[in-house]
Symmetry: C2
Subunit: 263 residues, 2 copies
């Protein structure tokens, strides 16, 4: 795995990223996810305590972070990039059960082993906290515990939204729903309103998308092609999707619009 990391990682620009464990130590005050992550509501003192037990790790696209069942002695926030949580049946059928975007939290306080496979689907940087001290901090820092509860409740809502998609939506609706969520998030980050033409960067391969949506990669590909033929979207390279009319896409997605934001 380390070998893989060394090879692929240069896609990120090449200079320093070669080690899995980064020596650089960003100050929490300067952190891009400072106000959205689990630490969002911590005051300066609490932040200092977190700072003392944190370290960064980075993973190249495609690298595993942990395997289900493995010992996991840290919890973490995604700083940049995207990670996927997946579950697998013995015969190899896979279902992605969560997509972790910047500021999302990985790991469960009070559990020593990973419950899911965690994989970097793009180059990924995580801010990790040693589990023991983090658990101690939760006990004595209401700000931290409260924010974690809030984030977990959001995740639960998102998971349930996804259950509706997996259980009841058609392949076409699944694709449209996923693109809607990405588009909404993109718009929110750029402070633009949805509705205008916009380009989305897919963070997943067709196969990963299939695992997320409960489909096969062929069906994903066919449905995307169909939507393109109908003018609902246009492809820009393999990963870029241009959506000329967001409302049209949302119509196809089939839900009432204000669906759960991804993260």
């Amino acid at each position: 795995m380390t070998g893989l990391a060394l090879i692929q990682i240069k896609s990120e620009g090449g200079r320093h990223v070669l080690h899995q464990k980064l020596s650089s130590h960003i100050s929490c005050g300067d952190c891009a996810i400072r106000h959205r992550a689990v630490c969002a509501r911590c005051d300066t003192g609490e932040l200092a305590e977190l700072e003392a037990v944190k370290f960064y790790r980075s993973y190249p696209a495609g690298a595993p972070v942990v395997w289900s069942g493995e010992q996991m002695d840290f919890v973490a926030s995604v700083v940049s990039g995207i990670a996927a949580l997946t579950q697998t049946l013995e015969d190899g059928r896979r279902q992605m059960v969560g997509l972790l975007l910047p500021s999302d939290f990985v790991g469960r306080p009070g559990r020593s082993h990973a419950a899911y496979d965690v994989t970097a689907t793009t180059d990924l940087v995580m801010c990790c906290f040693r589990k023991k001290p983090f658990e101690a901090l939760i006990e004595k820092t209401p700000h931290l515990a409260h924010r974690l509860l809030e984030m977990t409740l959001d995740e639960l809502d998102a998971a349930r939204e996804w259950m509706l998609l997996l259980g009841r939506k058609t392949a076409r609706e699944k694709i449209a729903s996923f693109l809607c969520i990405l588009a909404r998030r993109e718009a929110a980050l750029q402070m633009k309103s949805v509705g205008h033409a916009m380009t989305i960067e897919l963070p997943l391969t067709r196969e990963e998308l299939a695992d997320y949506l409960g489909l096969t990669l062929e069906t994903v590909s066919r449905q995307i092609s169909a939507l393109r033929r109908e003018g609902v979207l246009d492809l820009v390279g393999k990963r870029g999707v241009l959506v000329p009319d967001f409302d049209a896409l949302q119509d196809i997605a089939g839900d009432d619009g204000d669906g759960a934001m991804l993260s």
Copy 2:
């Protein structure tokens, strides 16, 4: 379990059960779910504060508790009976996104409107807390907040387990998985080990089961019939299921066995 609920309600006086709000006020100390619910870790003082803002409601089987989008000025624990959380698409397709068993928690602190339809699938008694004071208690009672976090994390795990089922399992596996979960829970409550022949009481109609499993009621019925023909299970009335060999059922369910407990 359904029977249990019925008995408990009747024993409560028989006459007034038709009213939604019960006048009786059980002391928290005597409560059946005292050590499993959100209050599990509260000390006597904290319990007293909860007691001051709680009230009971009961609902007959089939009754709605709240509709999605409706104002909801309380949060609650299920005391006895079973409730279902469902989401619905405009065209009527329904997906159950959670099954609430005794001790499970309903409602989200910090949110004023229900996110899902909540329905009693059996006669149901809930211990409700007025939302405002409950939220205040969470802020100042780490025991309460911590337990709620733990329960929410459990729910999240269960939801993700269910995503695997919805996205990747066959109808047959879905039915078997559901029965396995019920059986394991039944065994746990009765302190018996699984493996022996055991009878399970289905808390849901075929249609509700279909909504839970992402199937149609016809498919549910056919798969149950098929399993019966094969001798994997036997029906006792409409709702009773006799499982002669738990391991055989678990084999069919397709997952590694130690799946998430329901609640």
